[in-house]
Amino acid sequence: MKRNMAIQAALLICGIVFLITSANISTLGFNGDVLNQKDYVVILSWLLIVFSAGGISKEWLLQRKVEQLEKGQSTDEEITQQIISKKSRMKIFVSMILLFVFVLGFTYIGYYVTSLLFVFLLTWLMFDWAKKKWIVSLLFSLGLNGILYILFNLINVYFPNTLLF
């Protein structure tokens, strides 16, 4: 519930940021343009601020009710779930970083070279970095990229001009 409030607060801040940055939008246009490009964003930003503030209030009221009922005690089940999900959470964050590195490599180095490394690392990560599995991951990555190379050339899938390929 506190997390929900934090998200709504983040959205409220977003609304304020959009409202402030809307000052930079040019209002040049014609006289008949009743709702100009700036006003439209200003209205939406205010709506986001109001809705987010409403969301925070709603969560706060809900939290108070729950606290009264449960007196803020977390159950053993909740704690266990948090411990279980810690490992997979780390895996997800690492895969997110790998994805962004892949996109960066795809931009400058080349699709197939980066994909080879990405698939290898992601597969190995999913094998929990097991020492015996690195060769399986590498072979899978090599095989997949070989197939993709043939397939993409066959169906004319294009990639940007990069350092390698």
Binding site: Q37, Y111, S115
Partner: protein, 491 residues
């Protein structure tokens, strides 16, 4: 061109091959848990760029039909719905499979897919042109109110109304980035160069639907097969089965088509409504959930009937009814086709060809399901996530780049993949974001054009008959969303 010429054009051109590939790929994707019809369409979307418009859109439509239909396989055989629209299929299909009647359930499911699709096609052919004629009388006032209705409808029917309303507003702000549609003024609040042209909807959708799904799948063990192997025997239902299910077929087809027409509701709701109606109409409602074949029939007929229904507002008004039709809208725009009333008057051959392709795809789907599919899926579904998920990721990246050959699109896909994952974790629906990203710019254009026409007067938005009708629908939607929640709260 007359009907026979178009028919022969479709049958004697590469279009038929593309439809076959699209349908089979869709069925395979629908059958694998975690992969959906949306992903099949997403993956095929950039590949259709080089095709002629009919072949391209027919391929995407075939993948849509196949993807929705394929969900029946995993739902029945392993109790894991391959697509969200097959959730209710698993309620009765899986217990039937456990009783050794998996083949029977699969056969009835495939037949339900066939009937649901064909009934909705009839409605599509009958209603879409009429709706298109009506839409010709639409001015910016009507379009604004229709889109407002779609936004409210989506926000109201995707879980928490309040959260979805926030996402809708956020989506409208994000859709306003780039150049404004009236004066072409630059709006780039974060000053990031890659956002200078705004946020393209399709790469964002790939991120929200596919990449985030991969992250969600990573939460569970990946070193095990997704499903155990299973054997199938006979898959053709008897005449007796057909007679017993006749009323369910017609009722569920109607429910699916009607709900499909309404923008933003999606097939999941249609299946729940149809399932509920089938249960209430049954003489043995207590058997539902324990292996009543009518549960499978209701669910699978309605989810396929949604396809034709969802295509009506898409083709006649340019409004996507769900995530997949939002992608189809992207596909149509990519091929230079603007969905709406003019599509029917300016492109009659294209429309006829599309209806023919729809029919062919449905037939291919059924034949494939009861012959090859029923035998190979147990093998395919035993693939390990550890191999499947990397394939999905690298294919999505290649697909995103090939939409507009812009690196920026790939970044947007990756960023929205992360956003989509956290939205799922925090119980924020991604559909309002997708709908607003796709329709936000048009909404602004029509709203501002309407205000220009009326000289700033808001009255025409509420007094013109069709605009008023959609305004009433919007108010009713808000009312019906809030009322049951209040009731539940009081209870």
């Amino acid at each position: 061109m007359d009907f026979l010429s178009i028919l022969s054009d479709v049958l004697l051109s590469p279009t038929i091959i593309y439809v076959l590939i699209g349908t089979v790929l869709g069925v395979i994707f629908g059958a694998i848990p975690g992969l959906t019809a949306t992903l099949a369409v997403v993956m095929l979307l950039p590949l259709t760029y080089g095709m002629d418009p009919l072949a391209g859109i027919a391929t995407l439509l075939a993948a849509y039909i196949g993807g929705i239909s394929g969900g029946v396989v995993a739902a029945i055989l392993i109790g894991m719905p391959g697509t969200p629209s097959s959730v209710t299929t698993a309620f009765d299909g899986y217990p039937l499979a456990k009783k050794g009647m998996g083949t029977y359930a699969l056969g009835m499911g495939a037949m339900s897919n066939l009937i649901g699709s064909l009934v909705s096609l009839v409605f599509l052919i009958m209603l879409a042109p009429q709706l298109a004629k009506l839409a010709l009388s639409f001015t910016p006032f009507e379009y604004t109110m229709v889109m407002l209705f779609a936004f409210v409808m989506v926000a109201g029917l995707t879980g928490d109304f309040f959260k979805s309303a926030i996402v809708t507003v956020l989506g409208l702000i994000l859709a306003s980035w780039g150049f404004d549609p009236i004066n072409a003024a630059d709006r780039n609040p974060l000053g990031l160069e890659f956002l200078s042209n705004g946020i393209p909807a399709v790469p964002a959708m790939i991120g929200l639907f596919v990449i985030s799904r991969v992250f969600i799948e990573l939460e569970t063990d990946q070193s095990t097969p997704i499903i155990p192997k299973s054997k199938l025997k006979r898959t053709i239902p008897t005449m007796k089965d057909m007679k017993e299910s006749a009323s369910n077929f017609s009722r569920s087809s109607l429910i699916g088509t009607v709900i499909g027409i309404l923008p933003g509701i999606g097939s999941s709701l249609a299946t729940f409504v149809a399932y509920d109606r089938a249960k209430k109409s049954s003489k043995e409602p207590q058997t539902f959930g324990n292996g009543n074949i009518q549960g499978v029939v209701a669910s699978e007929t309605s989810n396929n009937a949604v396809i034709g229904g969802a295509l009506i507002p898409l083709l006649a008004l340019g409004i996507p009814g769900d995530g997949v039709t939002a992608l189809l809208l992207g596909g149509l725009q990519m091929h230079g086709l603007q969905p709406g009333p003019l599509l029917f008057t300016n492109q009659p051959d294209f429309m006829t060809g599309l209806f023919i392709s729809f029919f062919i795809s449905v037939v291919i789907m059924y034949v494939f399901m009861v012959t090859i599919g029923a035998r190979i899926f147990p093998f395919l579904l035993s693939a390990k996530k550890v191999y499947l998920l990397p394939i999905v990721l690298v294919m999505s990246i290649a697909g995103s780049y090939n939409i507009g050959f812009r690196i920026e699109d790939v970044w947007i896909m990756a960023i929205f993949g992360v956003i989509g994952y956290f939205m799922d974790k925090w119980n924020f629906s991604t559909l309002p974001l997708v709908i607003t990203l796709l329709l936000g710019a048009s909404f602004e254009k029509y709203l501002r054009n309407g205000l220009i026409q009326s000289g700033g007067d808001l009255t025409p938005f509420f007094t013109r008959p069709i605009a008023l009708l959609f305004f009433i629908f919007t108010i009713l939607t808000i009312f019906f969303v809030i009322k049951p929640k209040k009731k539940a709260k009081n209870a």
